[in-house]
């Protein structure tokens, strides 16, 4: 899948909205900017949701991220600083929703308490101390609104383009095939559990079936004359190359299977275990997430499962695509991690807070009152 340039449309609409809404003495009507902003969010939603089925997780994700982006835009364009502070609080709350979706309940609570609780209240206090009457230069003017908007959105466009390149690379044939083969391993294992002893070749075939299917399909298409909507010849050749690479990776594992023609249940299980590990390794090597080479993590087991821990030893959640259990263990793991692997950084953080407190007191002191007799 080649990266599409569709994502530029919401970016352009968003840039225009921010440019129109930035405060200036003779402001454009706020309605145009707001409309453009809504159009940008809608376009972004159309571009993104167009490719995905709506699940509860993705629905919540879209709601929270739309809130975060919308209130972020309000924070940037708001004339009244008090309202800007409140928009920032809403940005923080939406981000906390995203944290919850990402299985980080402790961070969500900490962010709400520290940002929405402490920092926003302090900001509002300072706003009250430094209140200005009427429109001021600070609130009603912007520095170089056009240049700032262009800089920000060029940065954003570059980031999103790279993300999309990466994403289209990962949605490839190989990841899909590997997932299918892993699924087949799981179903074959269920058959072994019922202690039906079968032929070794049948096991292999069951696991390798998607690979065989894809290969024959690619071959027929390579030999046939391509119709216009079909993938091009070079695409097919690349696919063929991928399949061959997968086949070689798999052959290395299946060669180690026991030589007997008929397998005992234990042998079959052991073989399937080895197959699964090998498939996971292949997946990690070619698809996402890219795992580091084994054993280079300096963190102890207190910081959660190691990246190189064999997949069957991680306490995995079968409902979440085999990802490790995160929400339930999160605060416990985080606490143990902070006080074992990150003990020195925690102490440094505490020291930094102390220094910041002393510094803030020293800076905010009224010098004039000290010199009074």
């Amino acid at each position: 899948m080649a990266p599409s340039w569709l994502f530029v449309l919401p970016l352009l609409a968003g840039a225009a909205a921010i440019y129109l809404l930035l405060p200036r003495p003779r402001a454009f009507p706020a309605l145009w900017g707001a409309l453009l902003g809504v159009v940008a969010l809608g376009l972004a939603g159309f571009v993104v949701v167009g490719f995905n089925a709506l699940t509860p997780e993705s629905f919540l994700f879209y709601v929270f991220s739309a809130c975060a982006v919308g209130f972020g835009a309000m924070l940037v364009t708001q004339r009244n600083p008090a309202r800007a502070a409140l928009s920032f609080a809403l940005v923080v709350l939406s981000t906390c929703g995203l944290f919850l979706l990402l299985a980080a309940p402790f961070l969500m609570a900490a962010t709400i308490i520290i940002y929405a609780g402490a920092i926003i209240v302090t900001f509002l206090f300072v706003l009250m101390l430094a209140q200005q009457e009427g429109p001021s230069n600070a609130d009603a003017r912007s520095r170089e609104p056009l240049l700032a908007t262009v800089v920000g959105f060029v940065l954003l466009g570059a980031l999103l383009y790279v993300l999309q390149l990466q994403m289209s690379r990962e949605n490839n044939e190989e990841g899909r095939l590997l997932a299918e083969m892993l699924h087949n391993v799981a179903t074959t294992r269920a058959g072994v559990n019922e202690a039906t002893l079968k032929d070794k070749d049948e096991y292999r075939k069951a696991v390798e079936q998607p690979l065989i299917d894809a290969k024959s399909d690619t071959d027929t298409r390579l030999n046939a004359k391509p119709a216009p909507p079909e993938p091009t010849r070079s695409d097919l050749q690349r696919r063929r190359h991928t399949l061959e690479r997968l086949d070689r990776g798999l052959a290395r594992v299946t060669d180690q299977w026991p030589d007997t023609k008929v397998l005992s249940a234990d042998e079959a299980k052991a073989g399937l275990d080895r197959l699964e590990t090998a498939l996971l390794q292949l997946k990690q090597r070619h698809g996402w997430p890219h795992s580091d080479s084994a054993g280079d993590s300096n963190l102890s087991a207190y910081s959660g499962p190691q990246p190189d821990l064999p997949a069957d030893q991680v306490r995995a959640d079968p409902n979440a695509g085999g990802r490790p259990y995160m929400p339930a263990d999160n605060p416990a793991y985080l606490g143990r991690s902070l006080f074992t692997d990150y003990l020195l950084p925690v102490e440094l953080g505490g020291f930094l807070l102390l220094v910041a407190t002393i510094g803030a007191i020293a800076i905010a002191q009224r010098r004039a009152t000290l010199e009074r007799p």
Binding site: T55, L75, L98, A130, R141, W288, P305, R323
Partner: protein, 142 residues
């Protein structure tokens, strides 16, 4: 259940970061500039937590905790500085400090006049006790 690819979260983080950068560059109110800087940190935090989730370990979350710590320190120092700057110029406008610019740079001159102040509605006044309040004719909408 099809899980959401990590790129979606990274994209949201990128958008928050870019919006914060625009606000920091374009706005002139010191307080809003610092709020925008905090929003950039939020974008980074979303990225880190997403990576933590998809790698299945806690490095990203621990790092986010330190980001929050540094943000709290930054807020304390920044607010103290803002108060000091406000006392010196009686304004939160950052362009009043453009005497700190590079020697070859032109100063920014605000040419367009500010819009006139909007008239605020007067605060409501109660009649003193003991006096009879003004009677207004009641209108019925029925």
């Amino acid at each position: 259940m099809p899980e959401l690819p990590i790129h979606h979260y990274l994209a949201v983080g990128a958008v928050l970061f870019a919006l914060g950068a625009i606000g920091f560059l374009a706005r002139r109110n010191l307080i809003i500039m610092f709020l925008c800087a905090e929003m950039m940190l939020q974008g980074v935090a979303v990225n880190l937590v997403a990576f933590a989730r998809y790698r299945g370990n806690l490095e990203g979350q621990a790092f986010t905790l330190f980001v929050i710590t540094v943000a709290a320190c930054e807020a304390a120092i920044a607010l103290a500085l803002i108060l000091m700057l406000f006392r010196a110029k009686q304004s939160l406008d950052v362009s009043l400090w453009q005497s700190l610019r590079e020697p070859h740079q032109e100063p920014i001159v605000d040419e367009e006049p500010l819009p006139p102040r909007e008239k605020e509605a007067p605060s409501p006044v109660l009649t003193l006790s003991g006096l009879e309040p003004e009677h207004r004719e009641e209108k019925s909408h029925v």
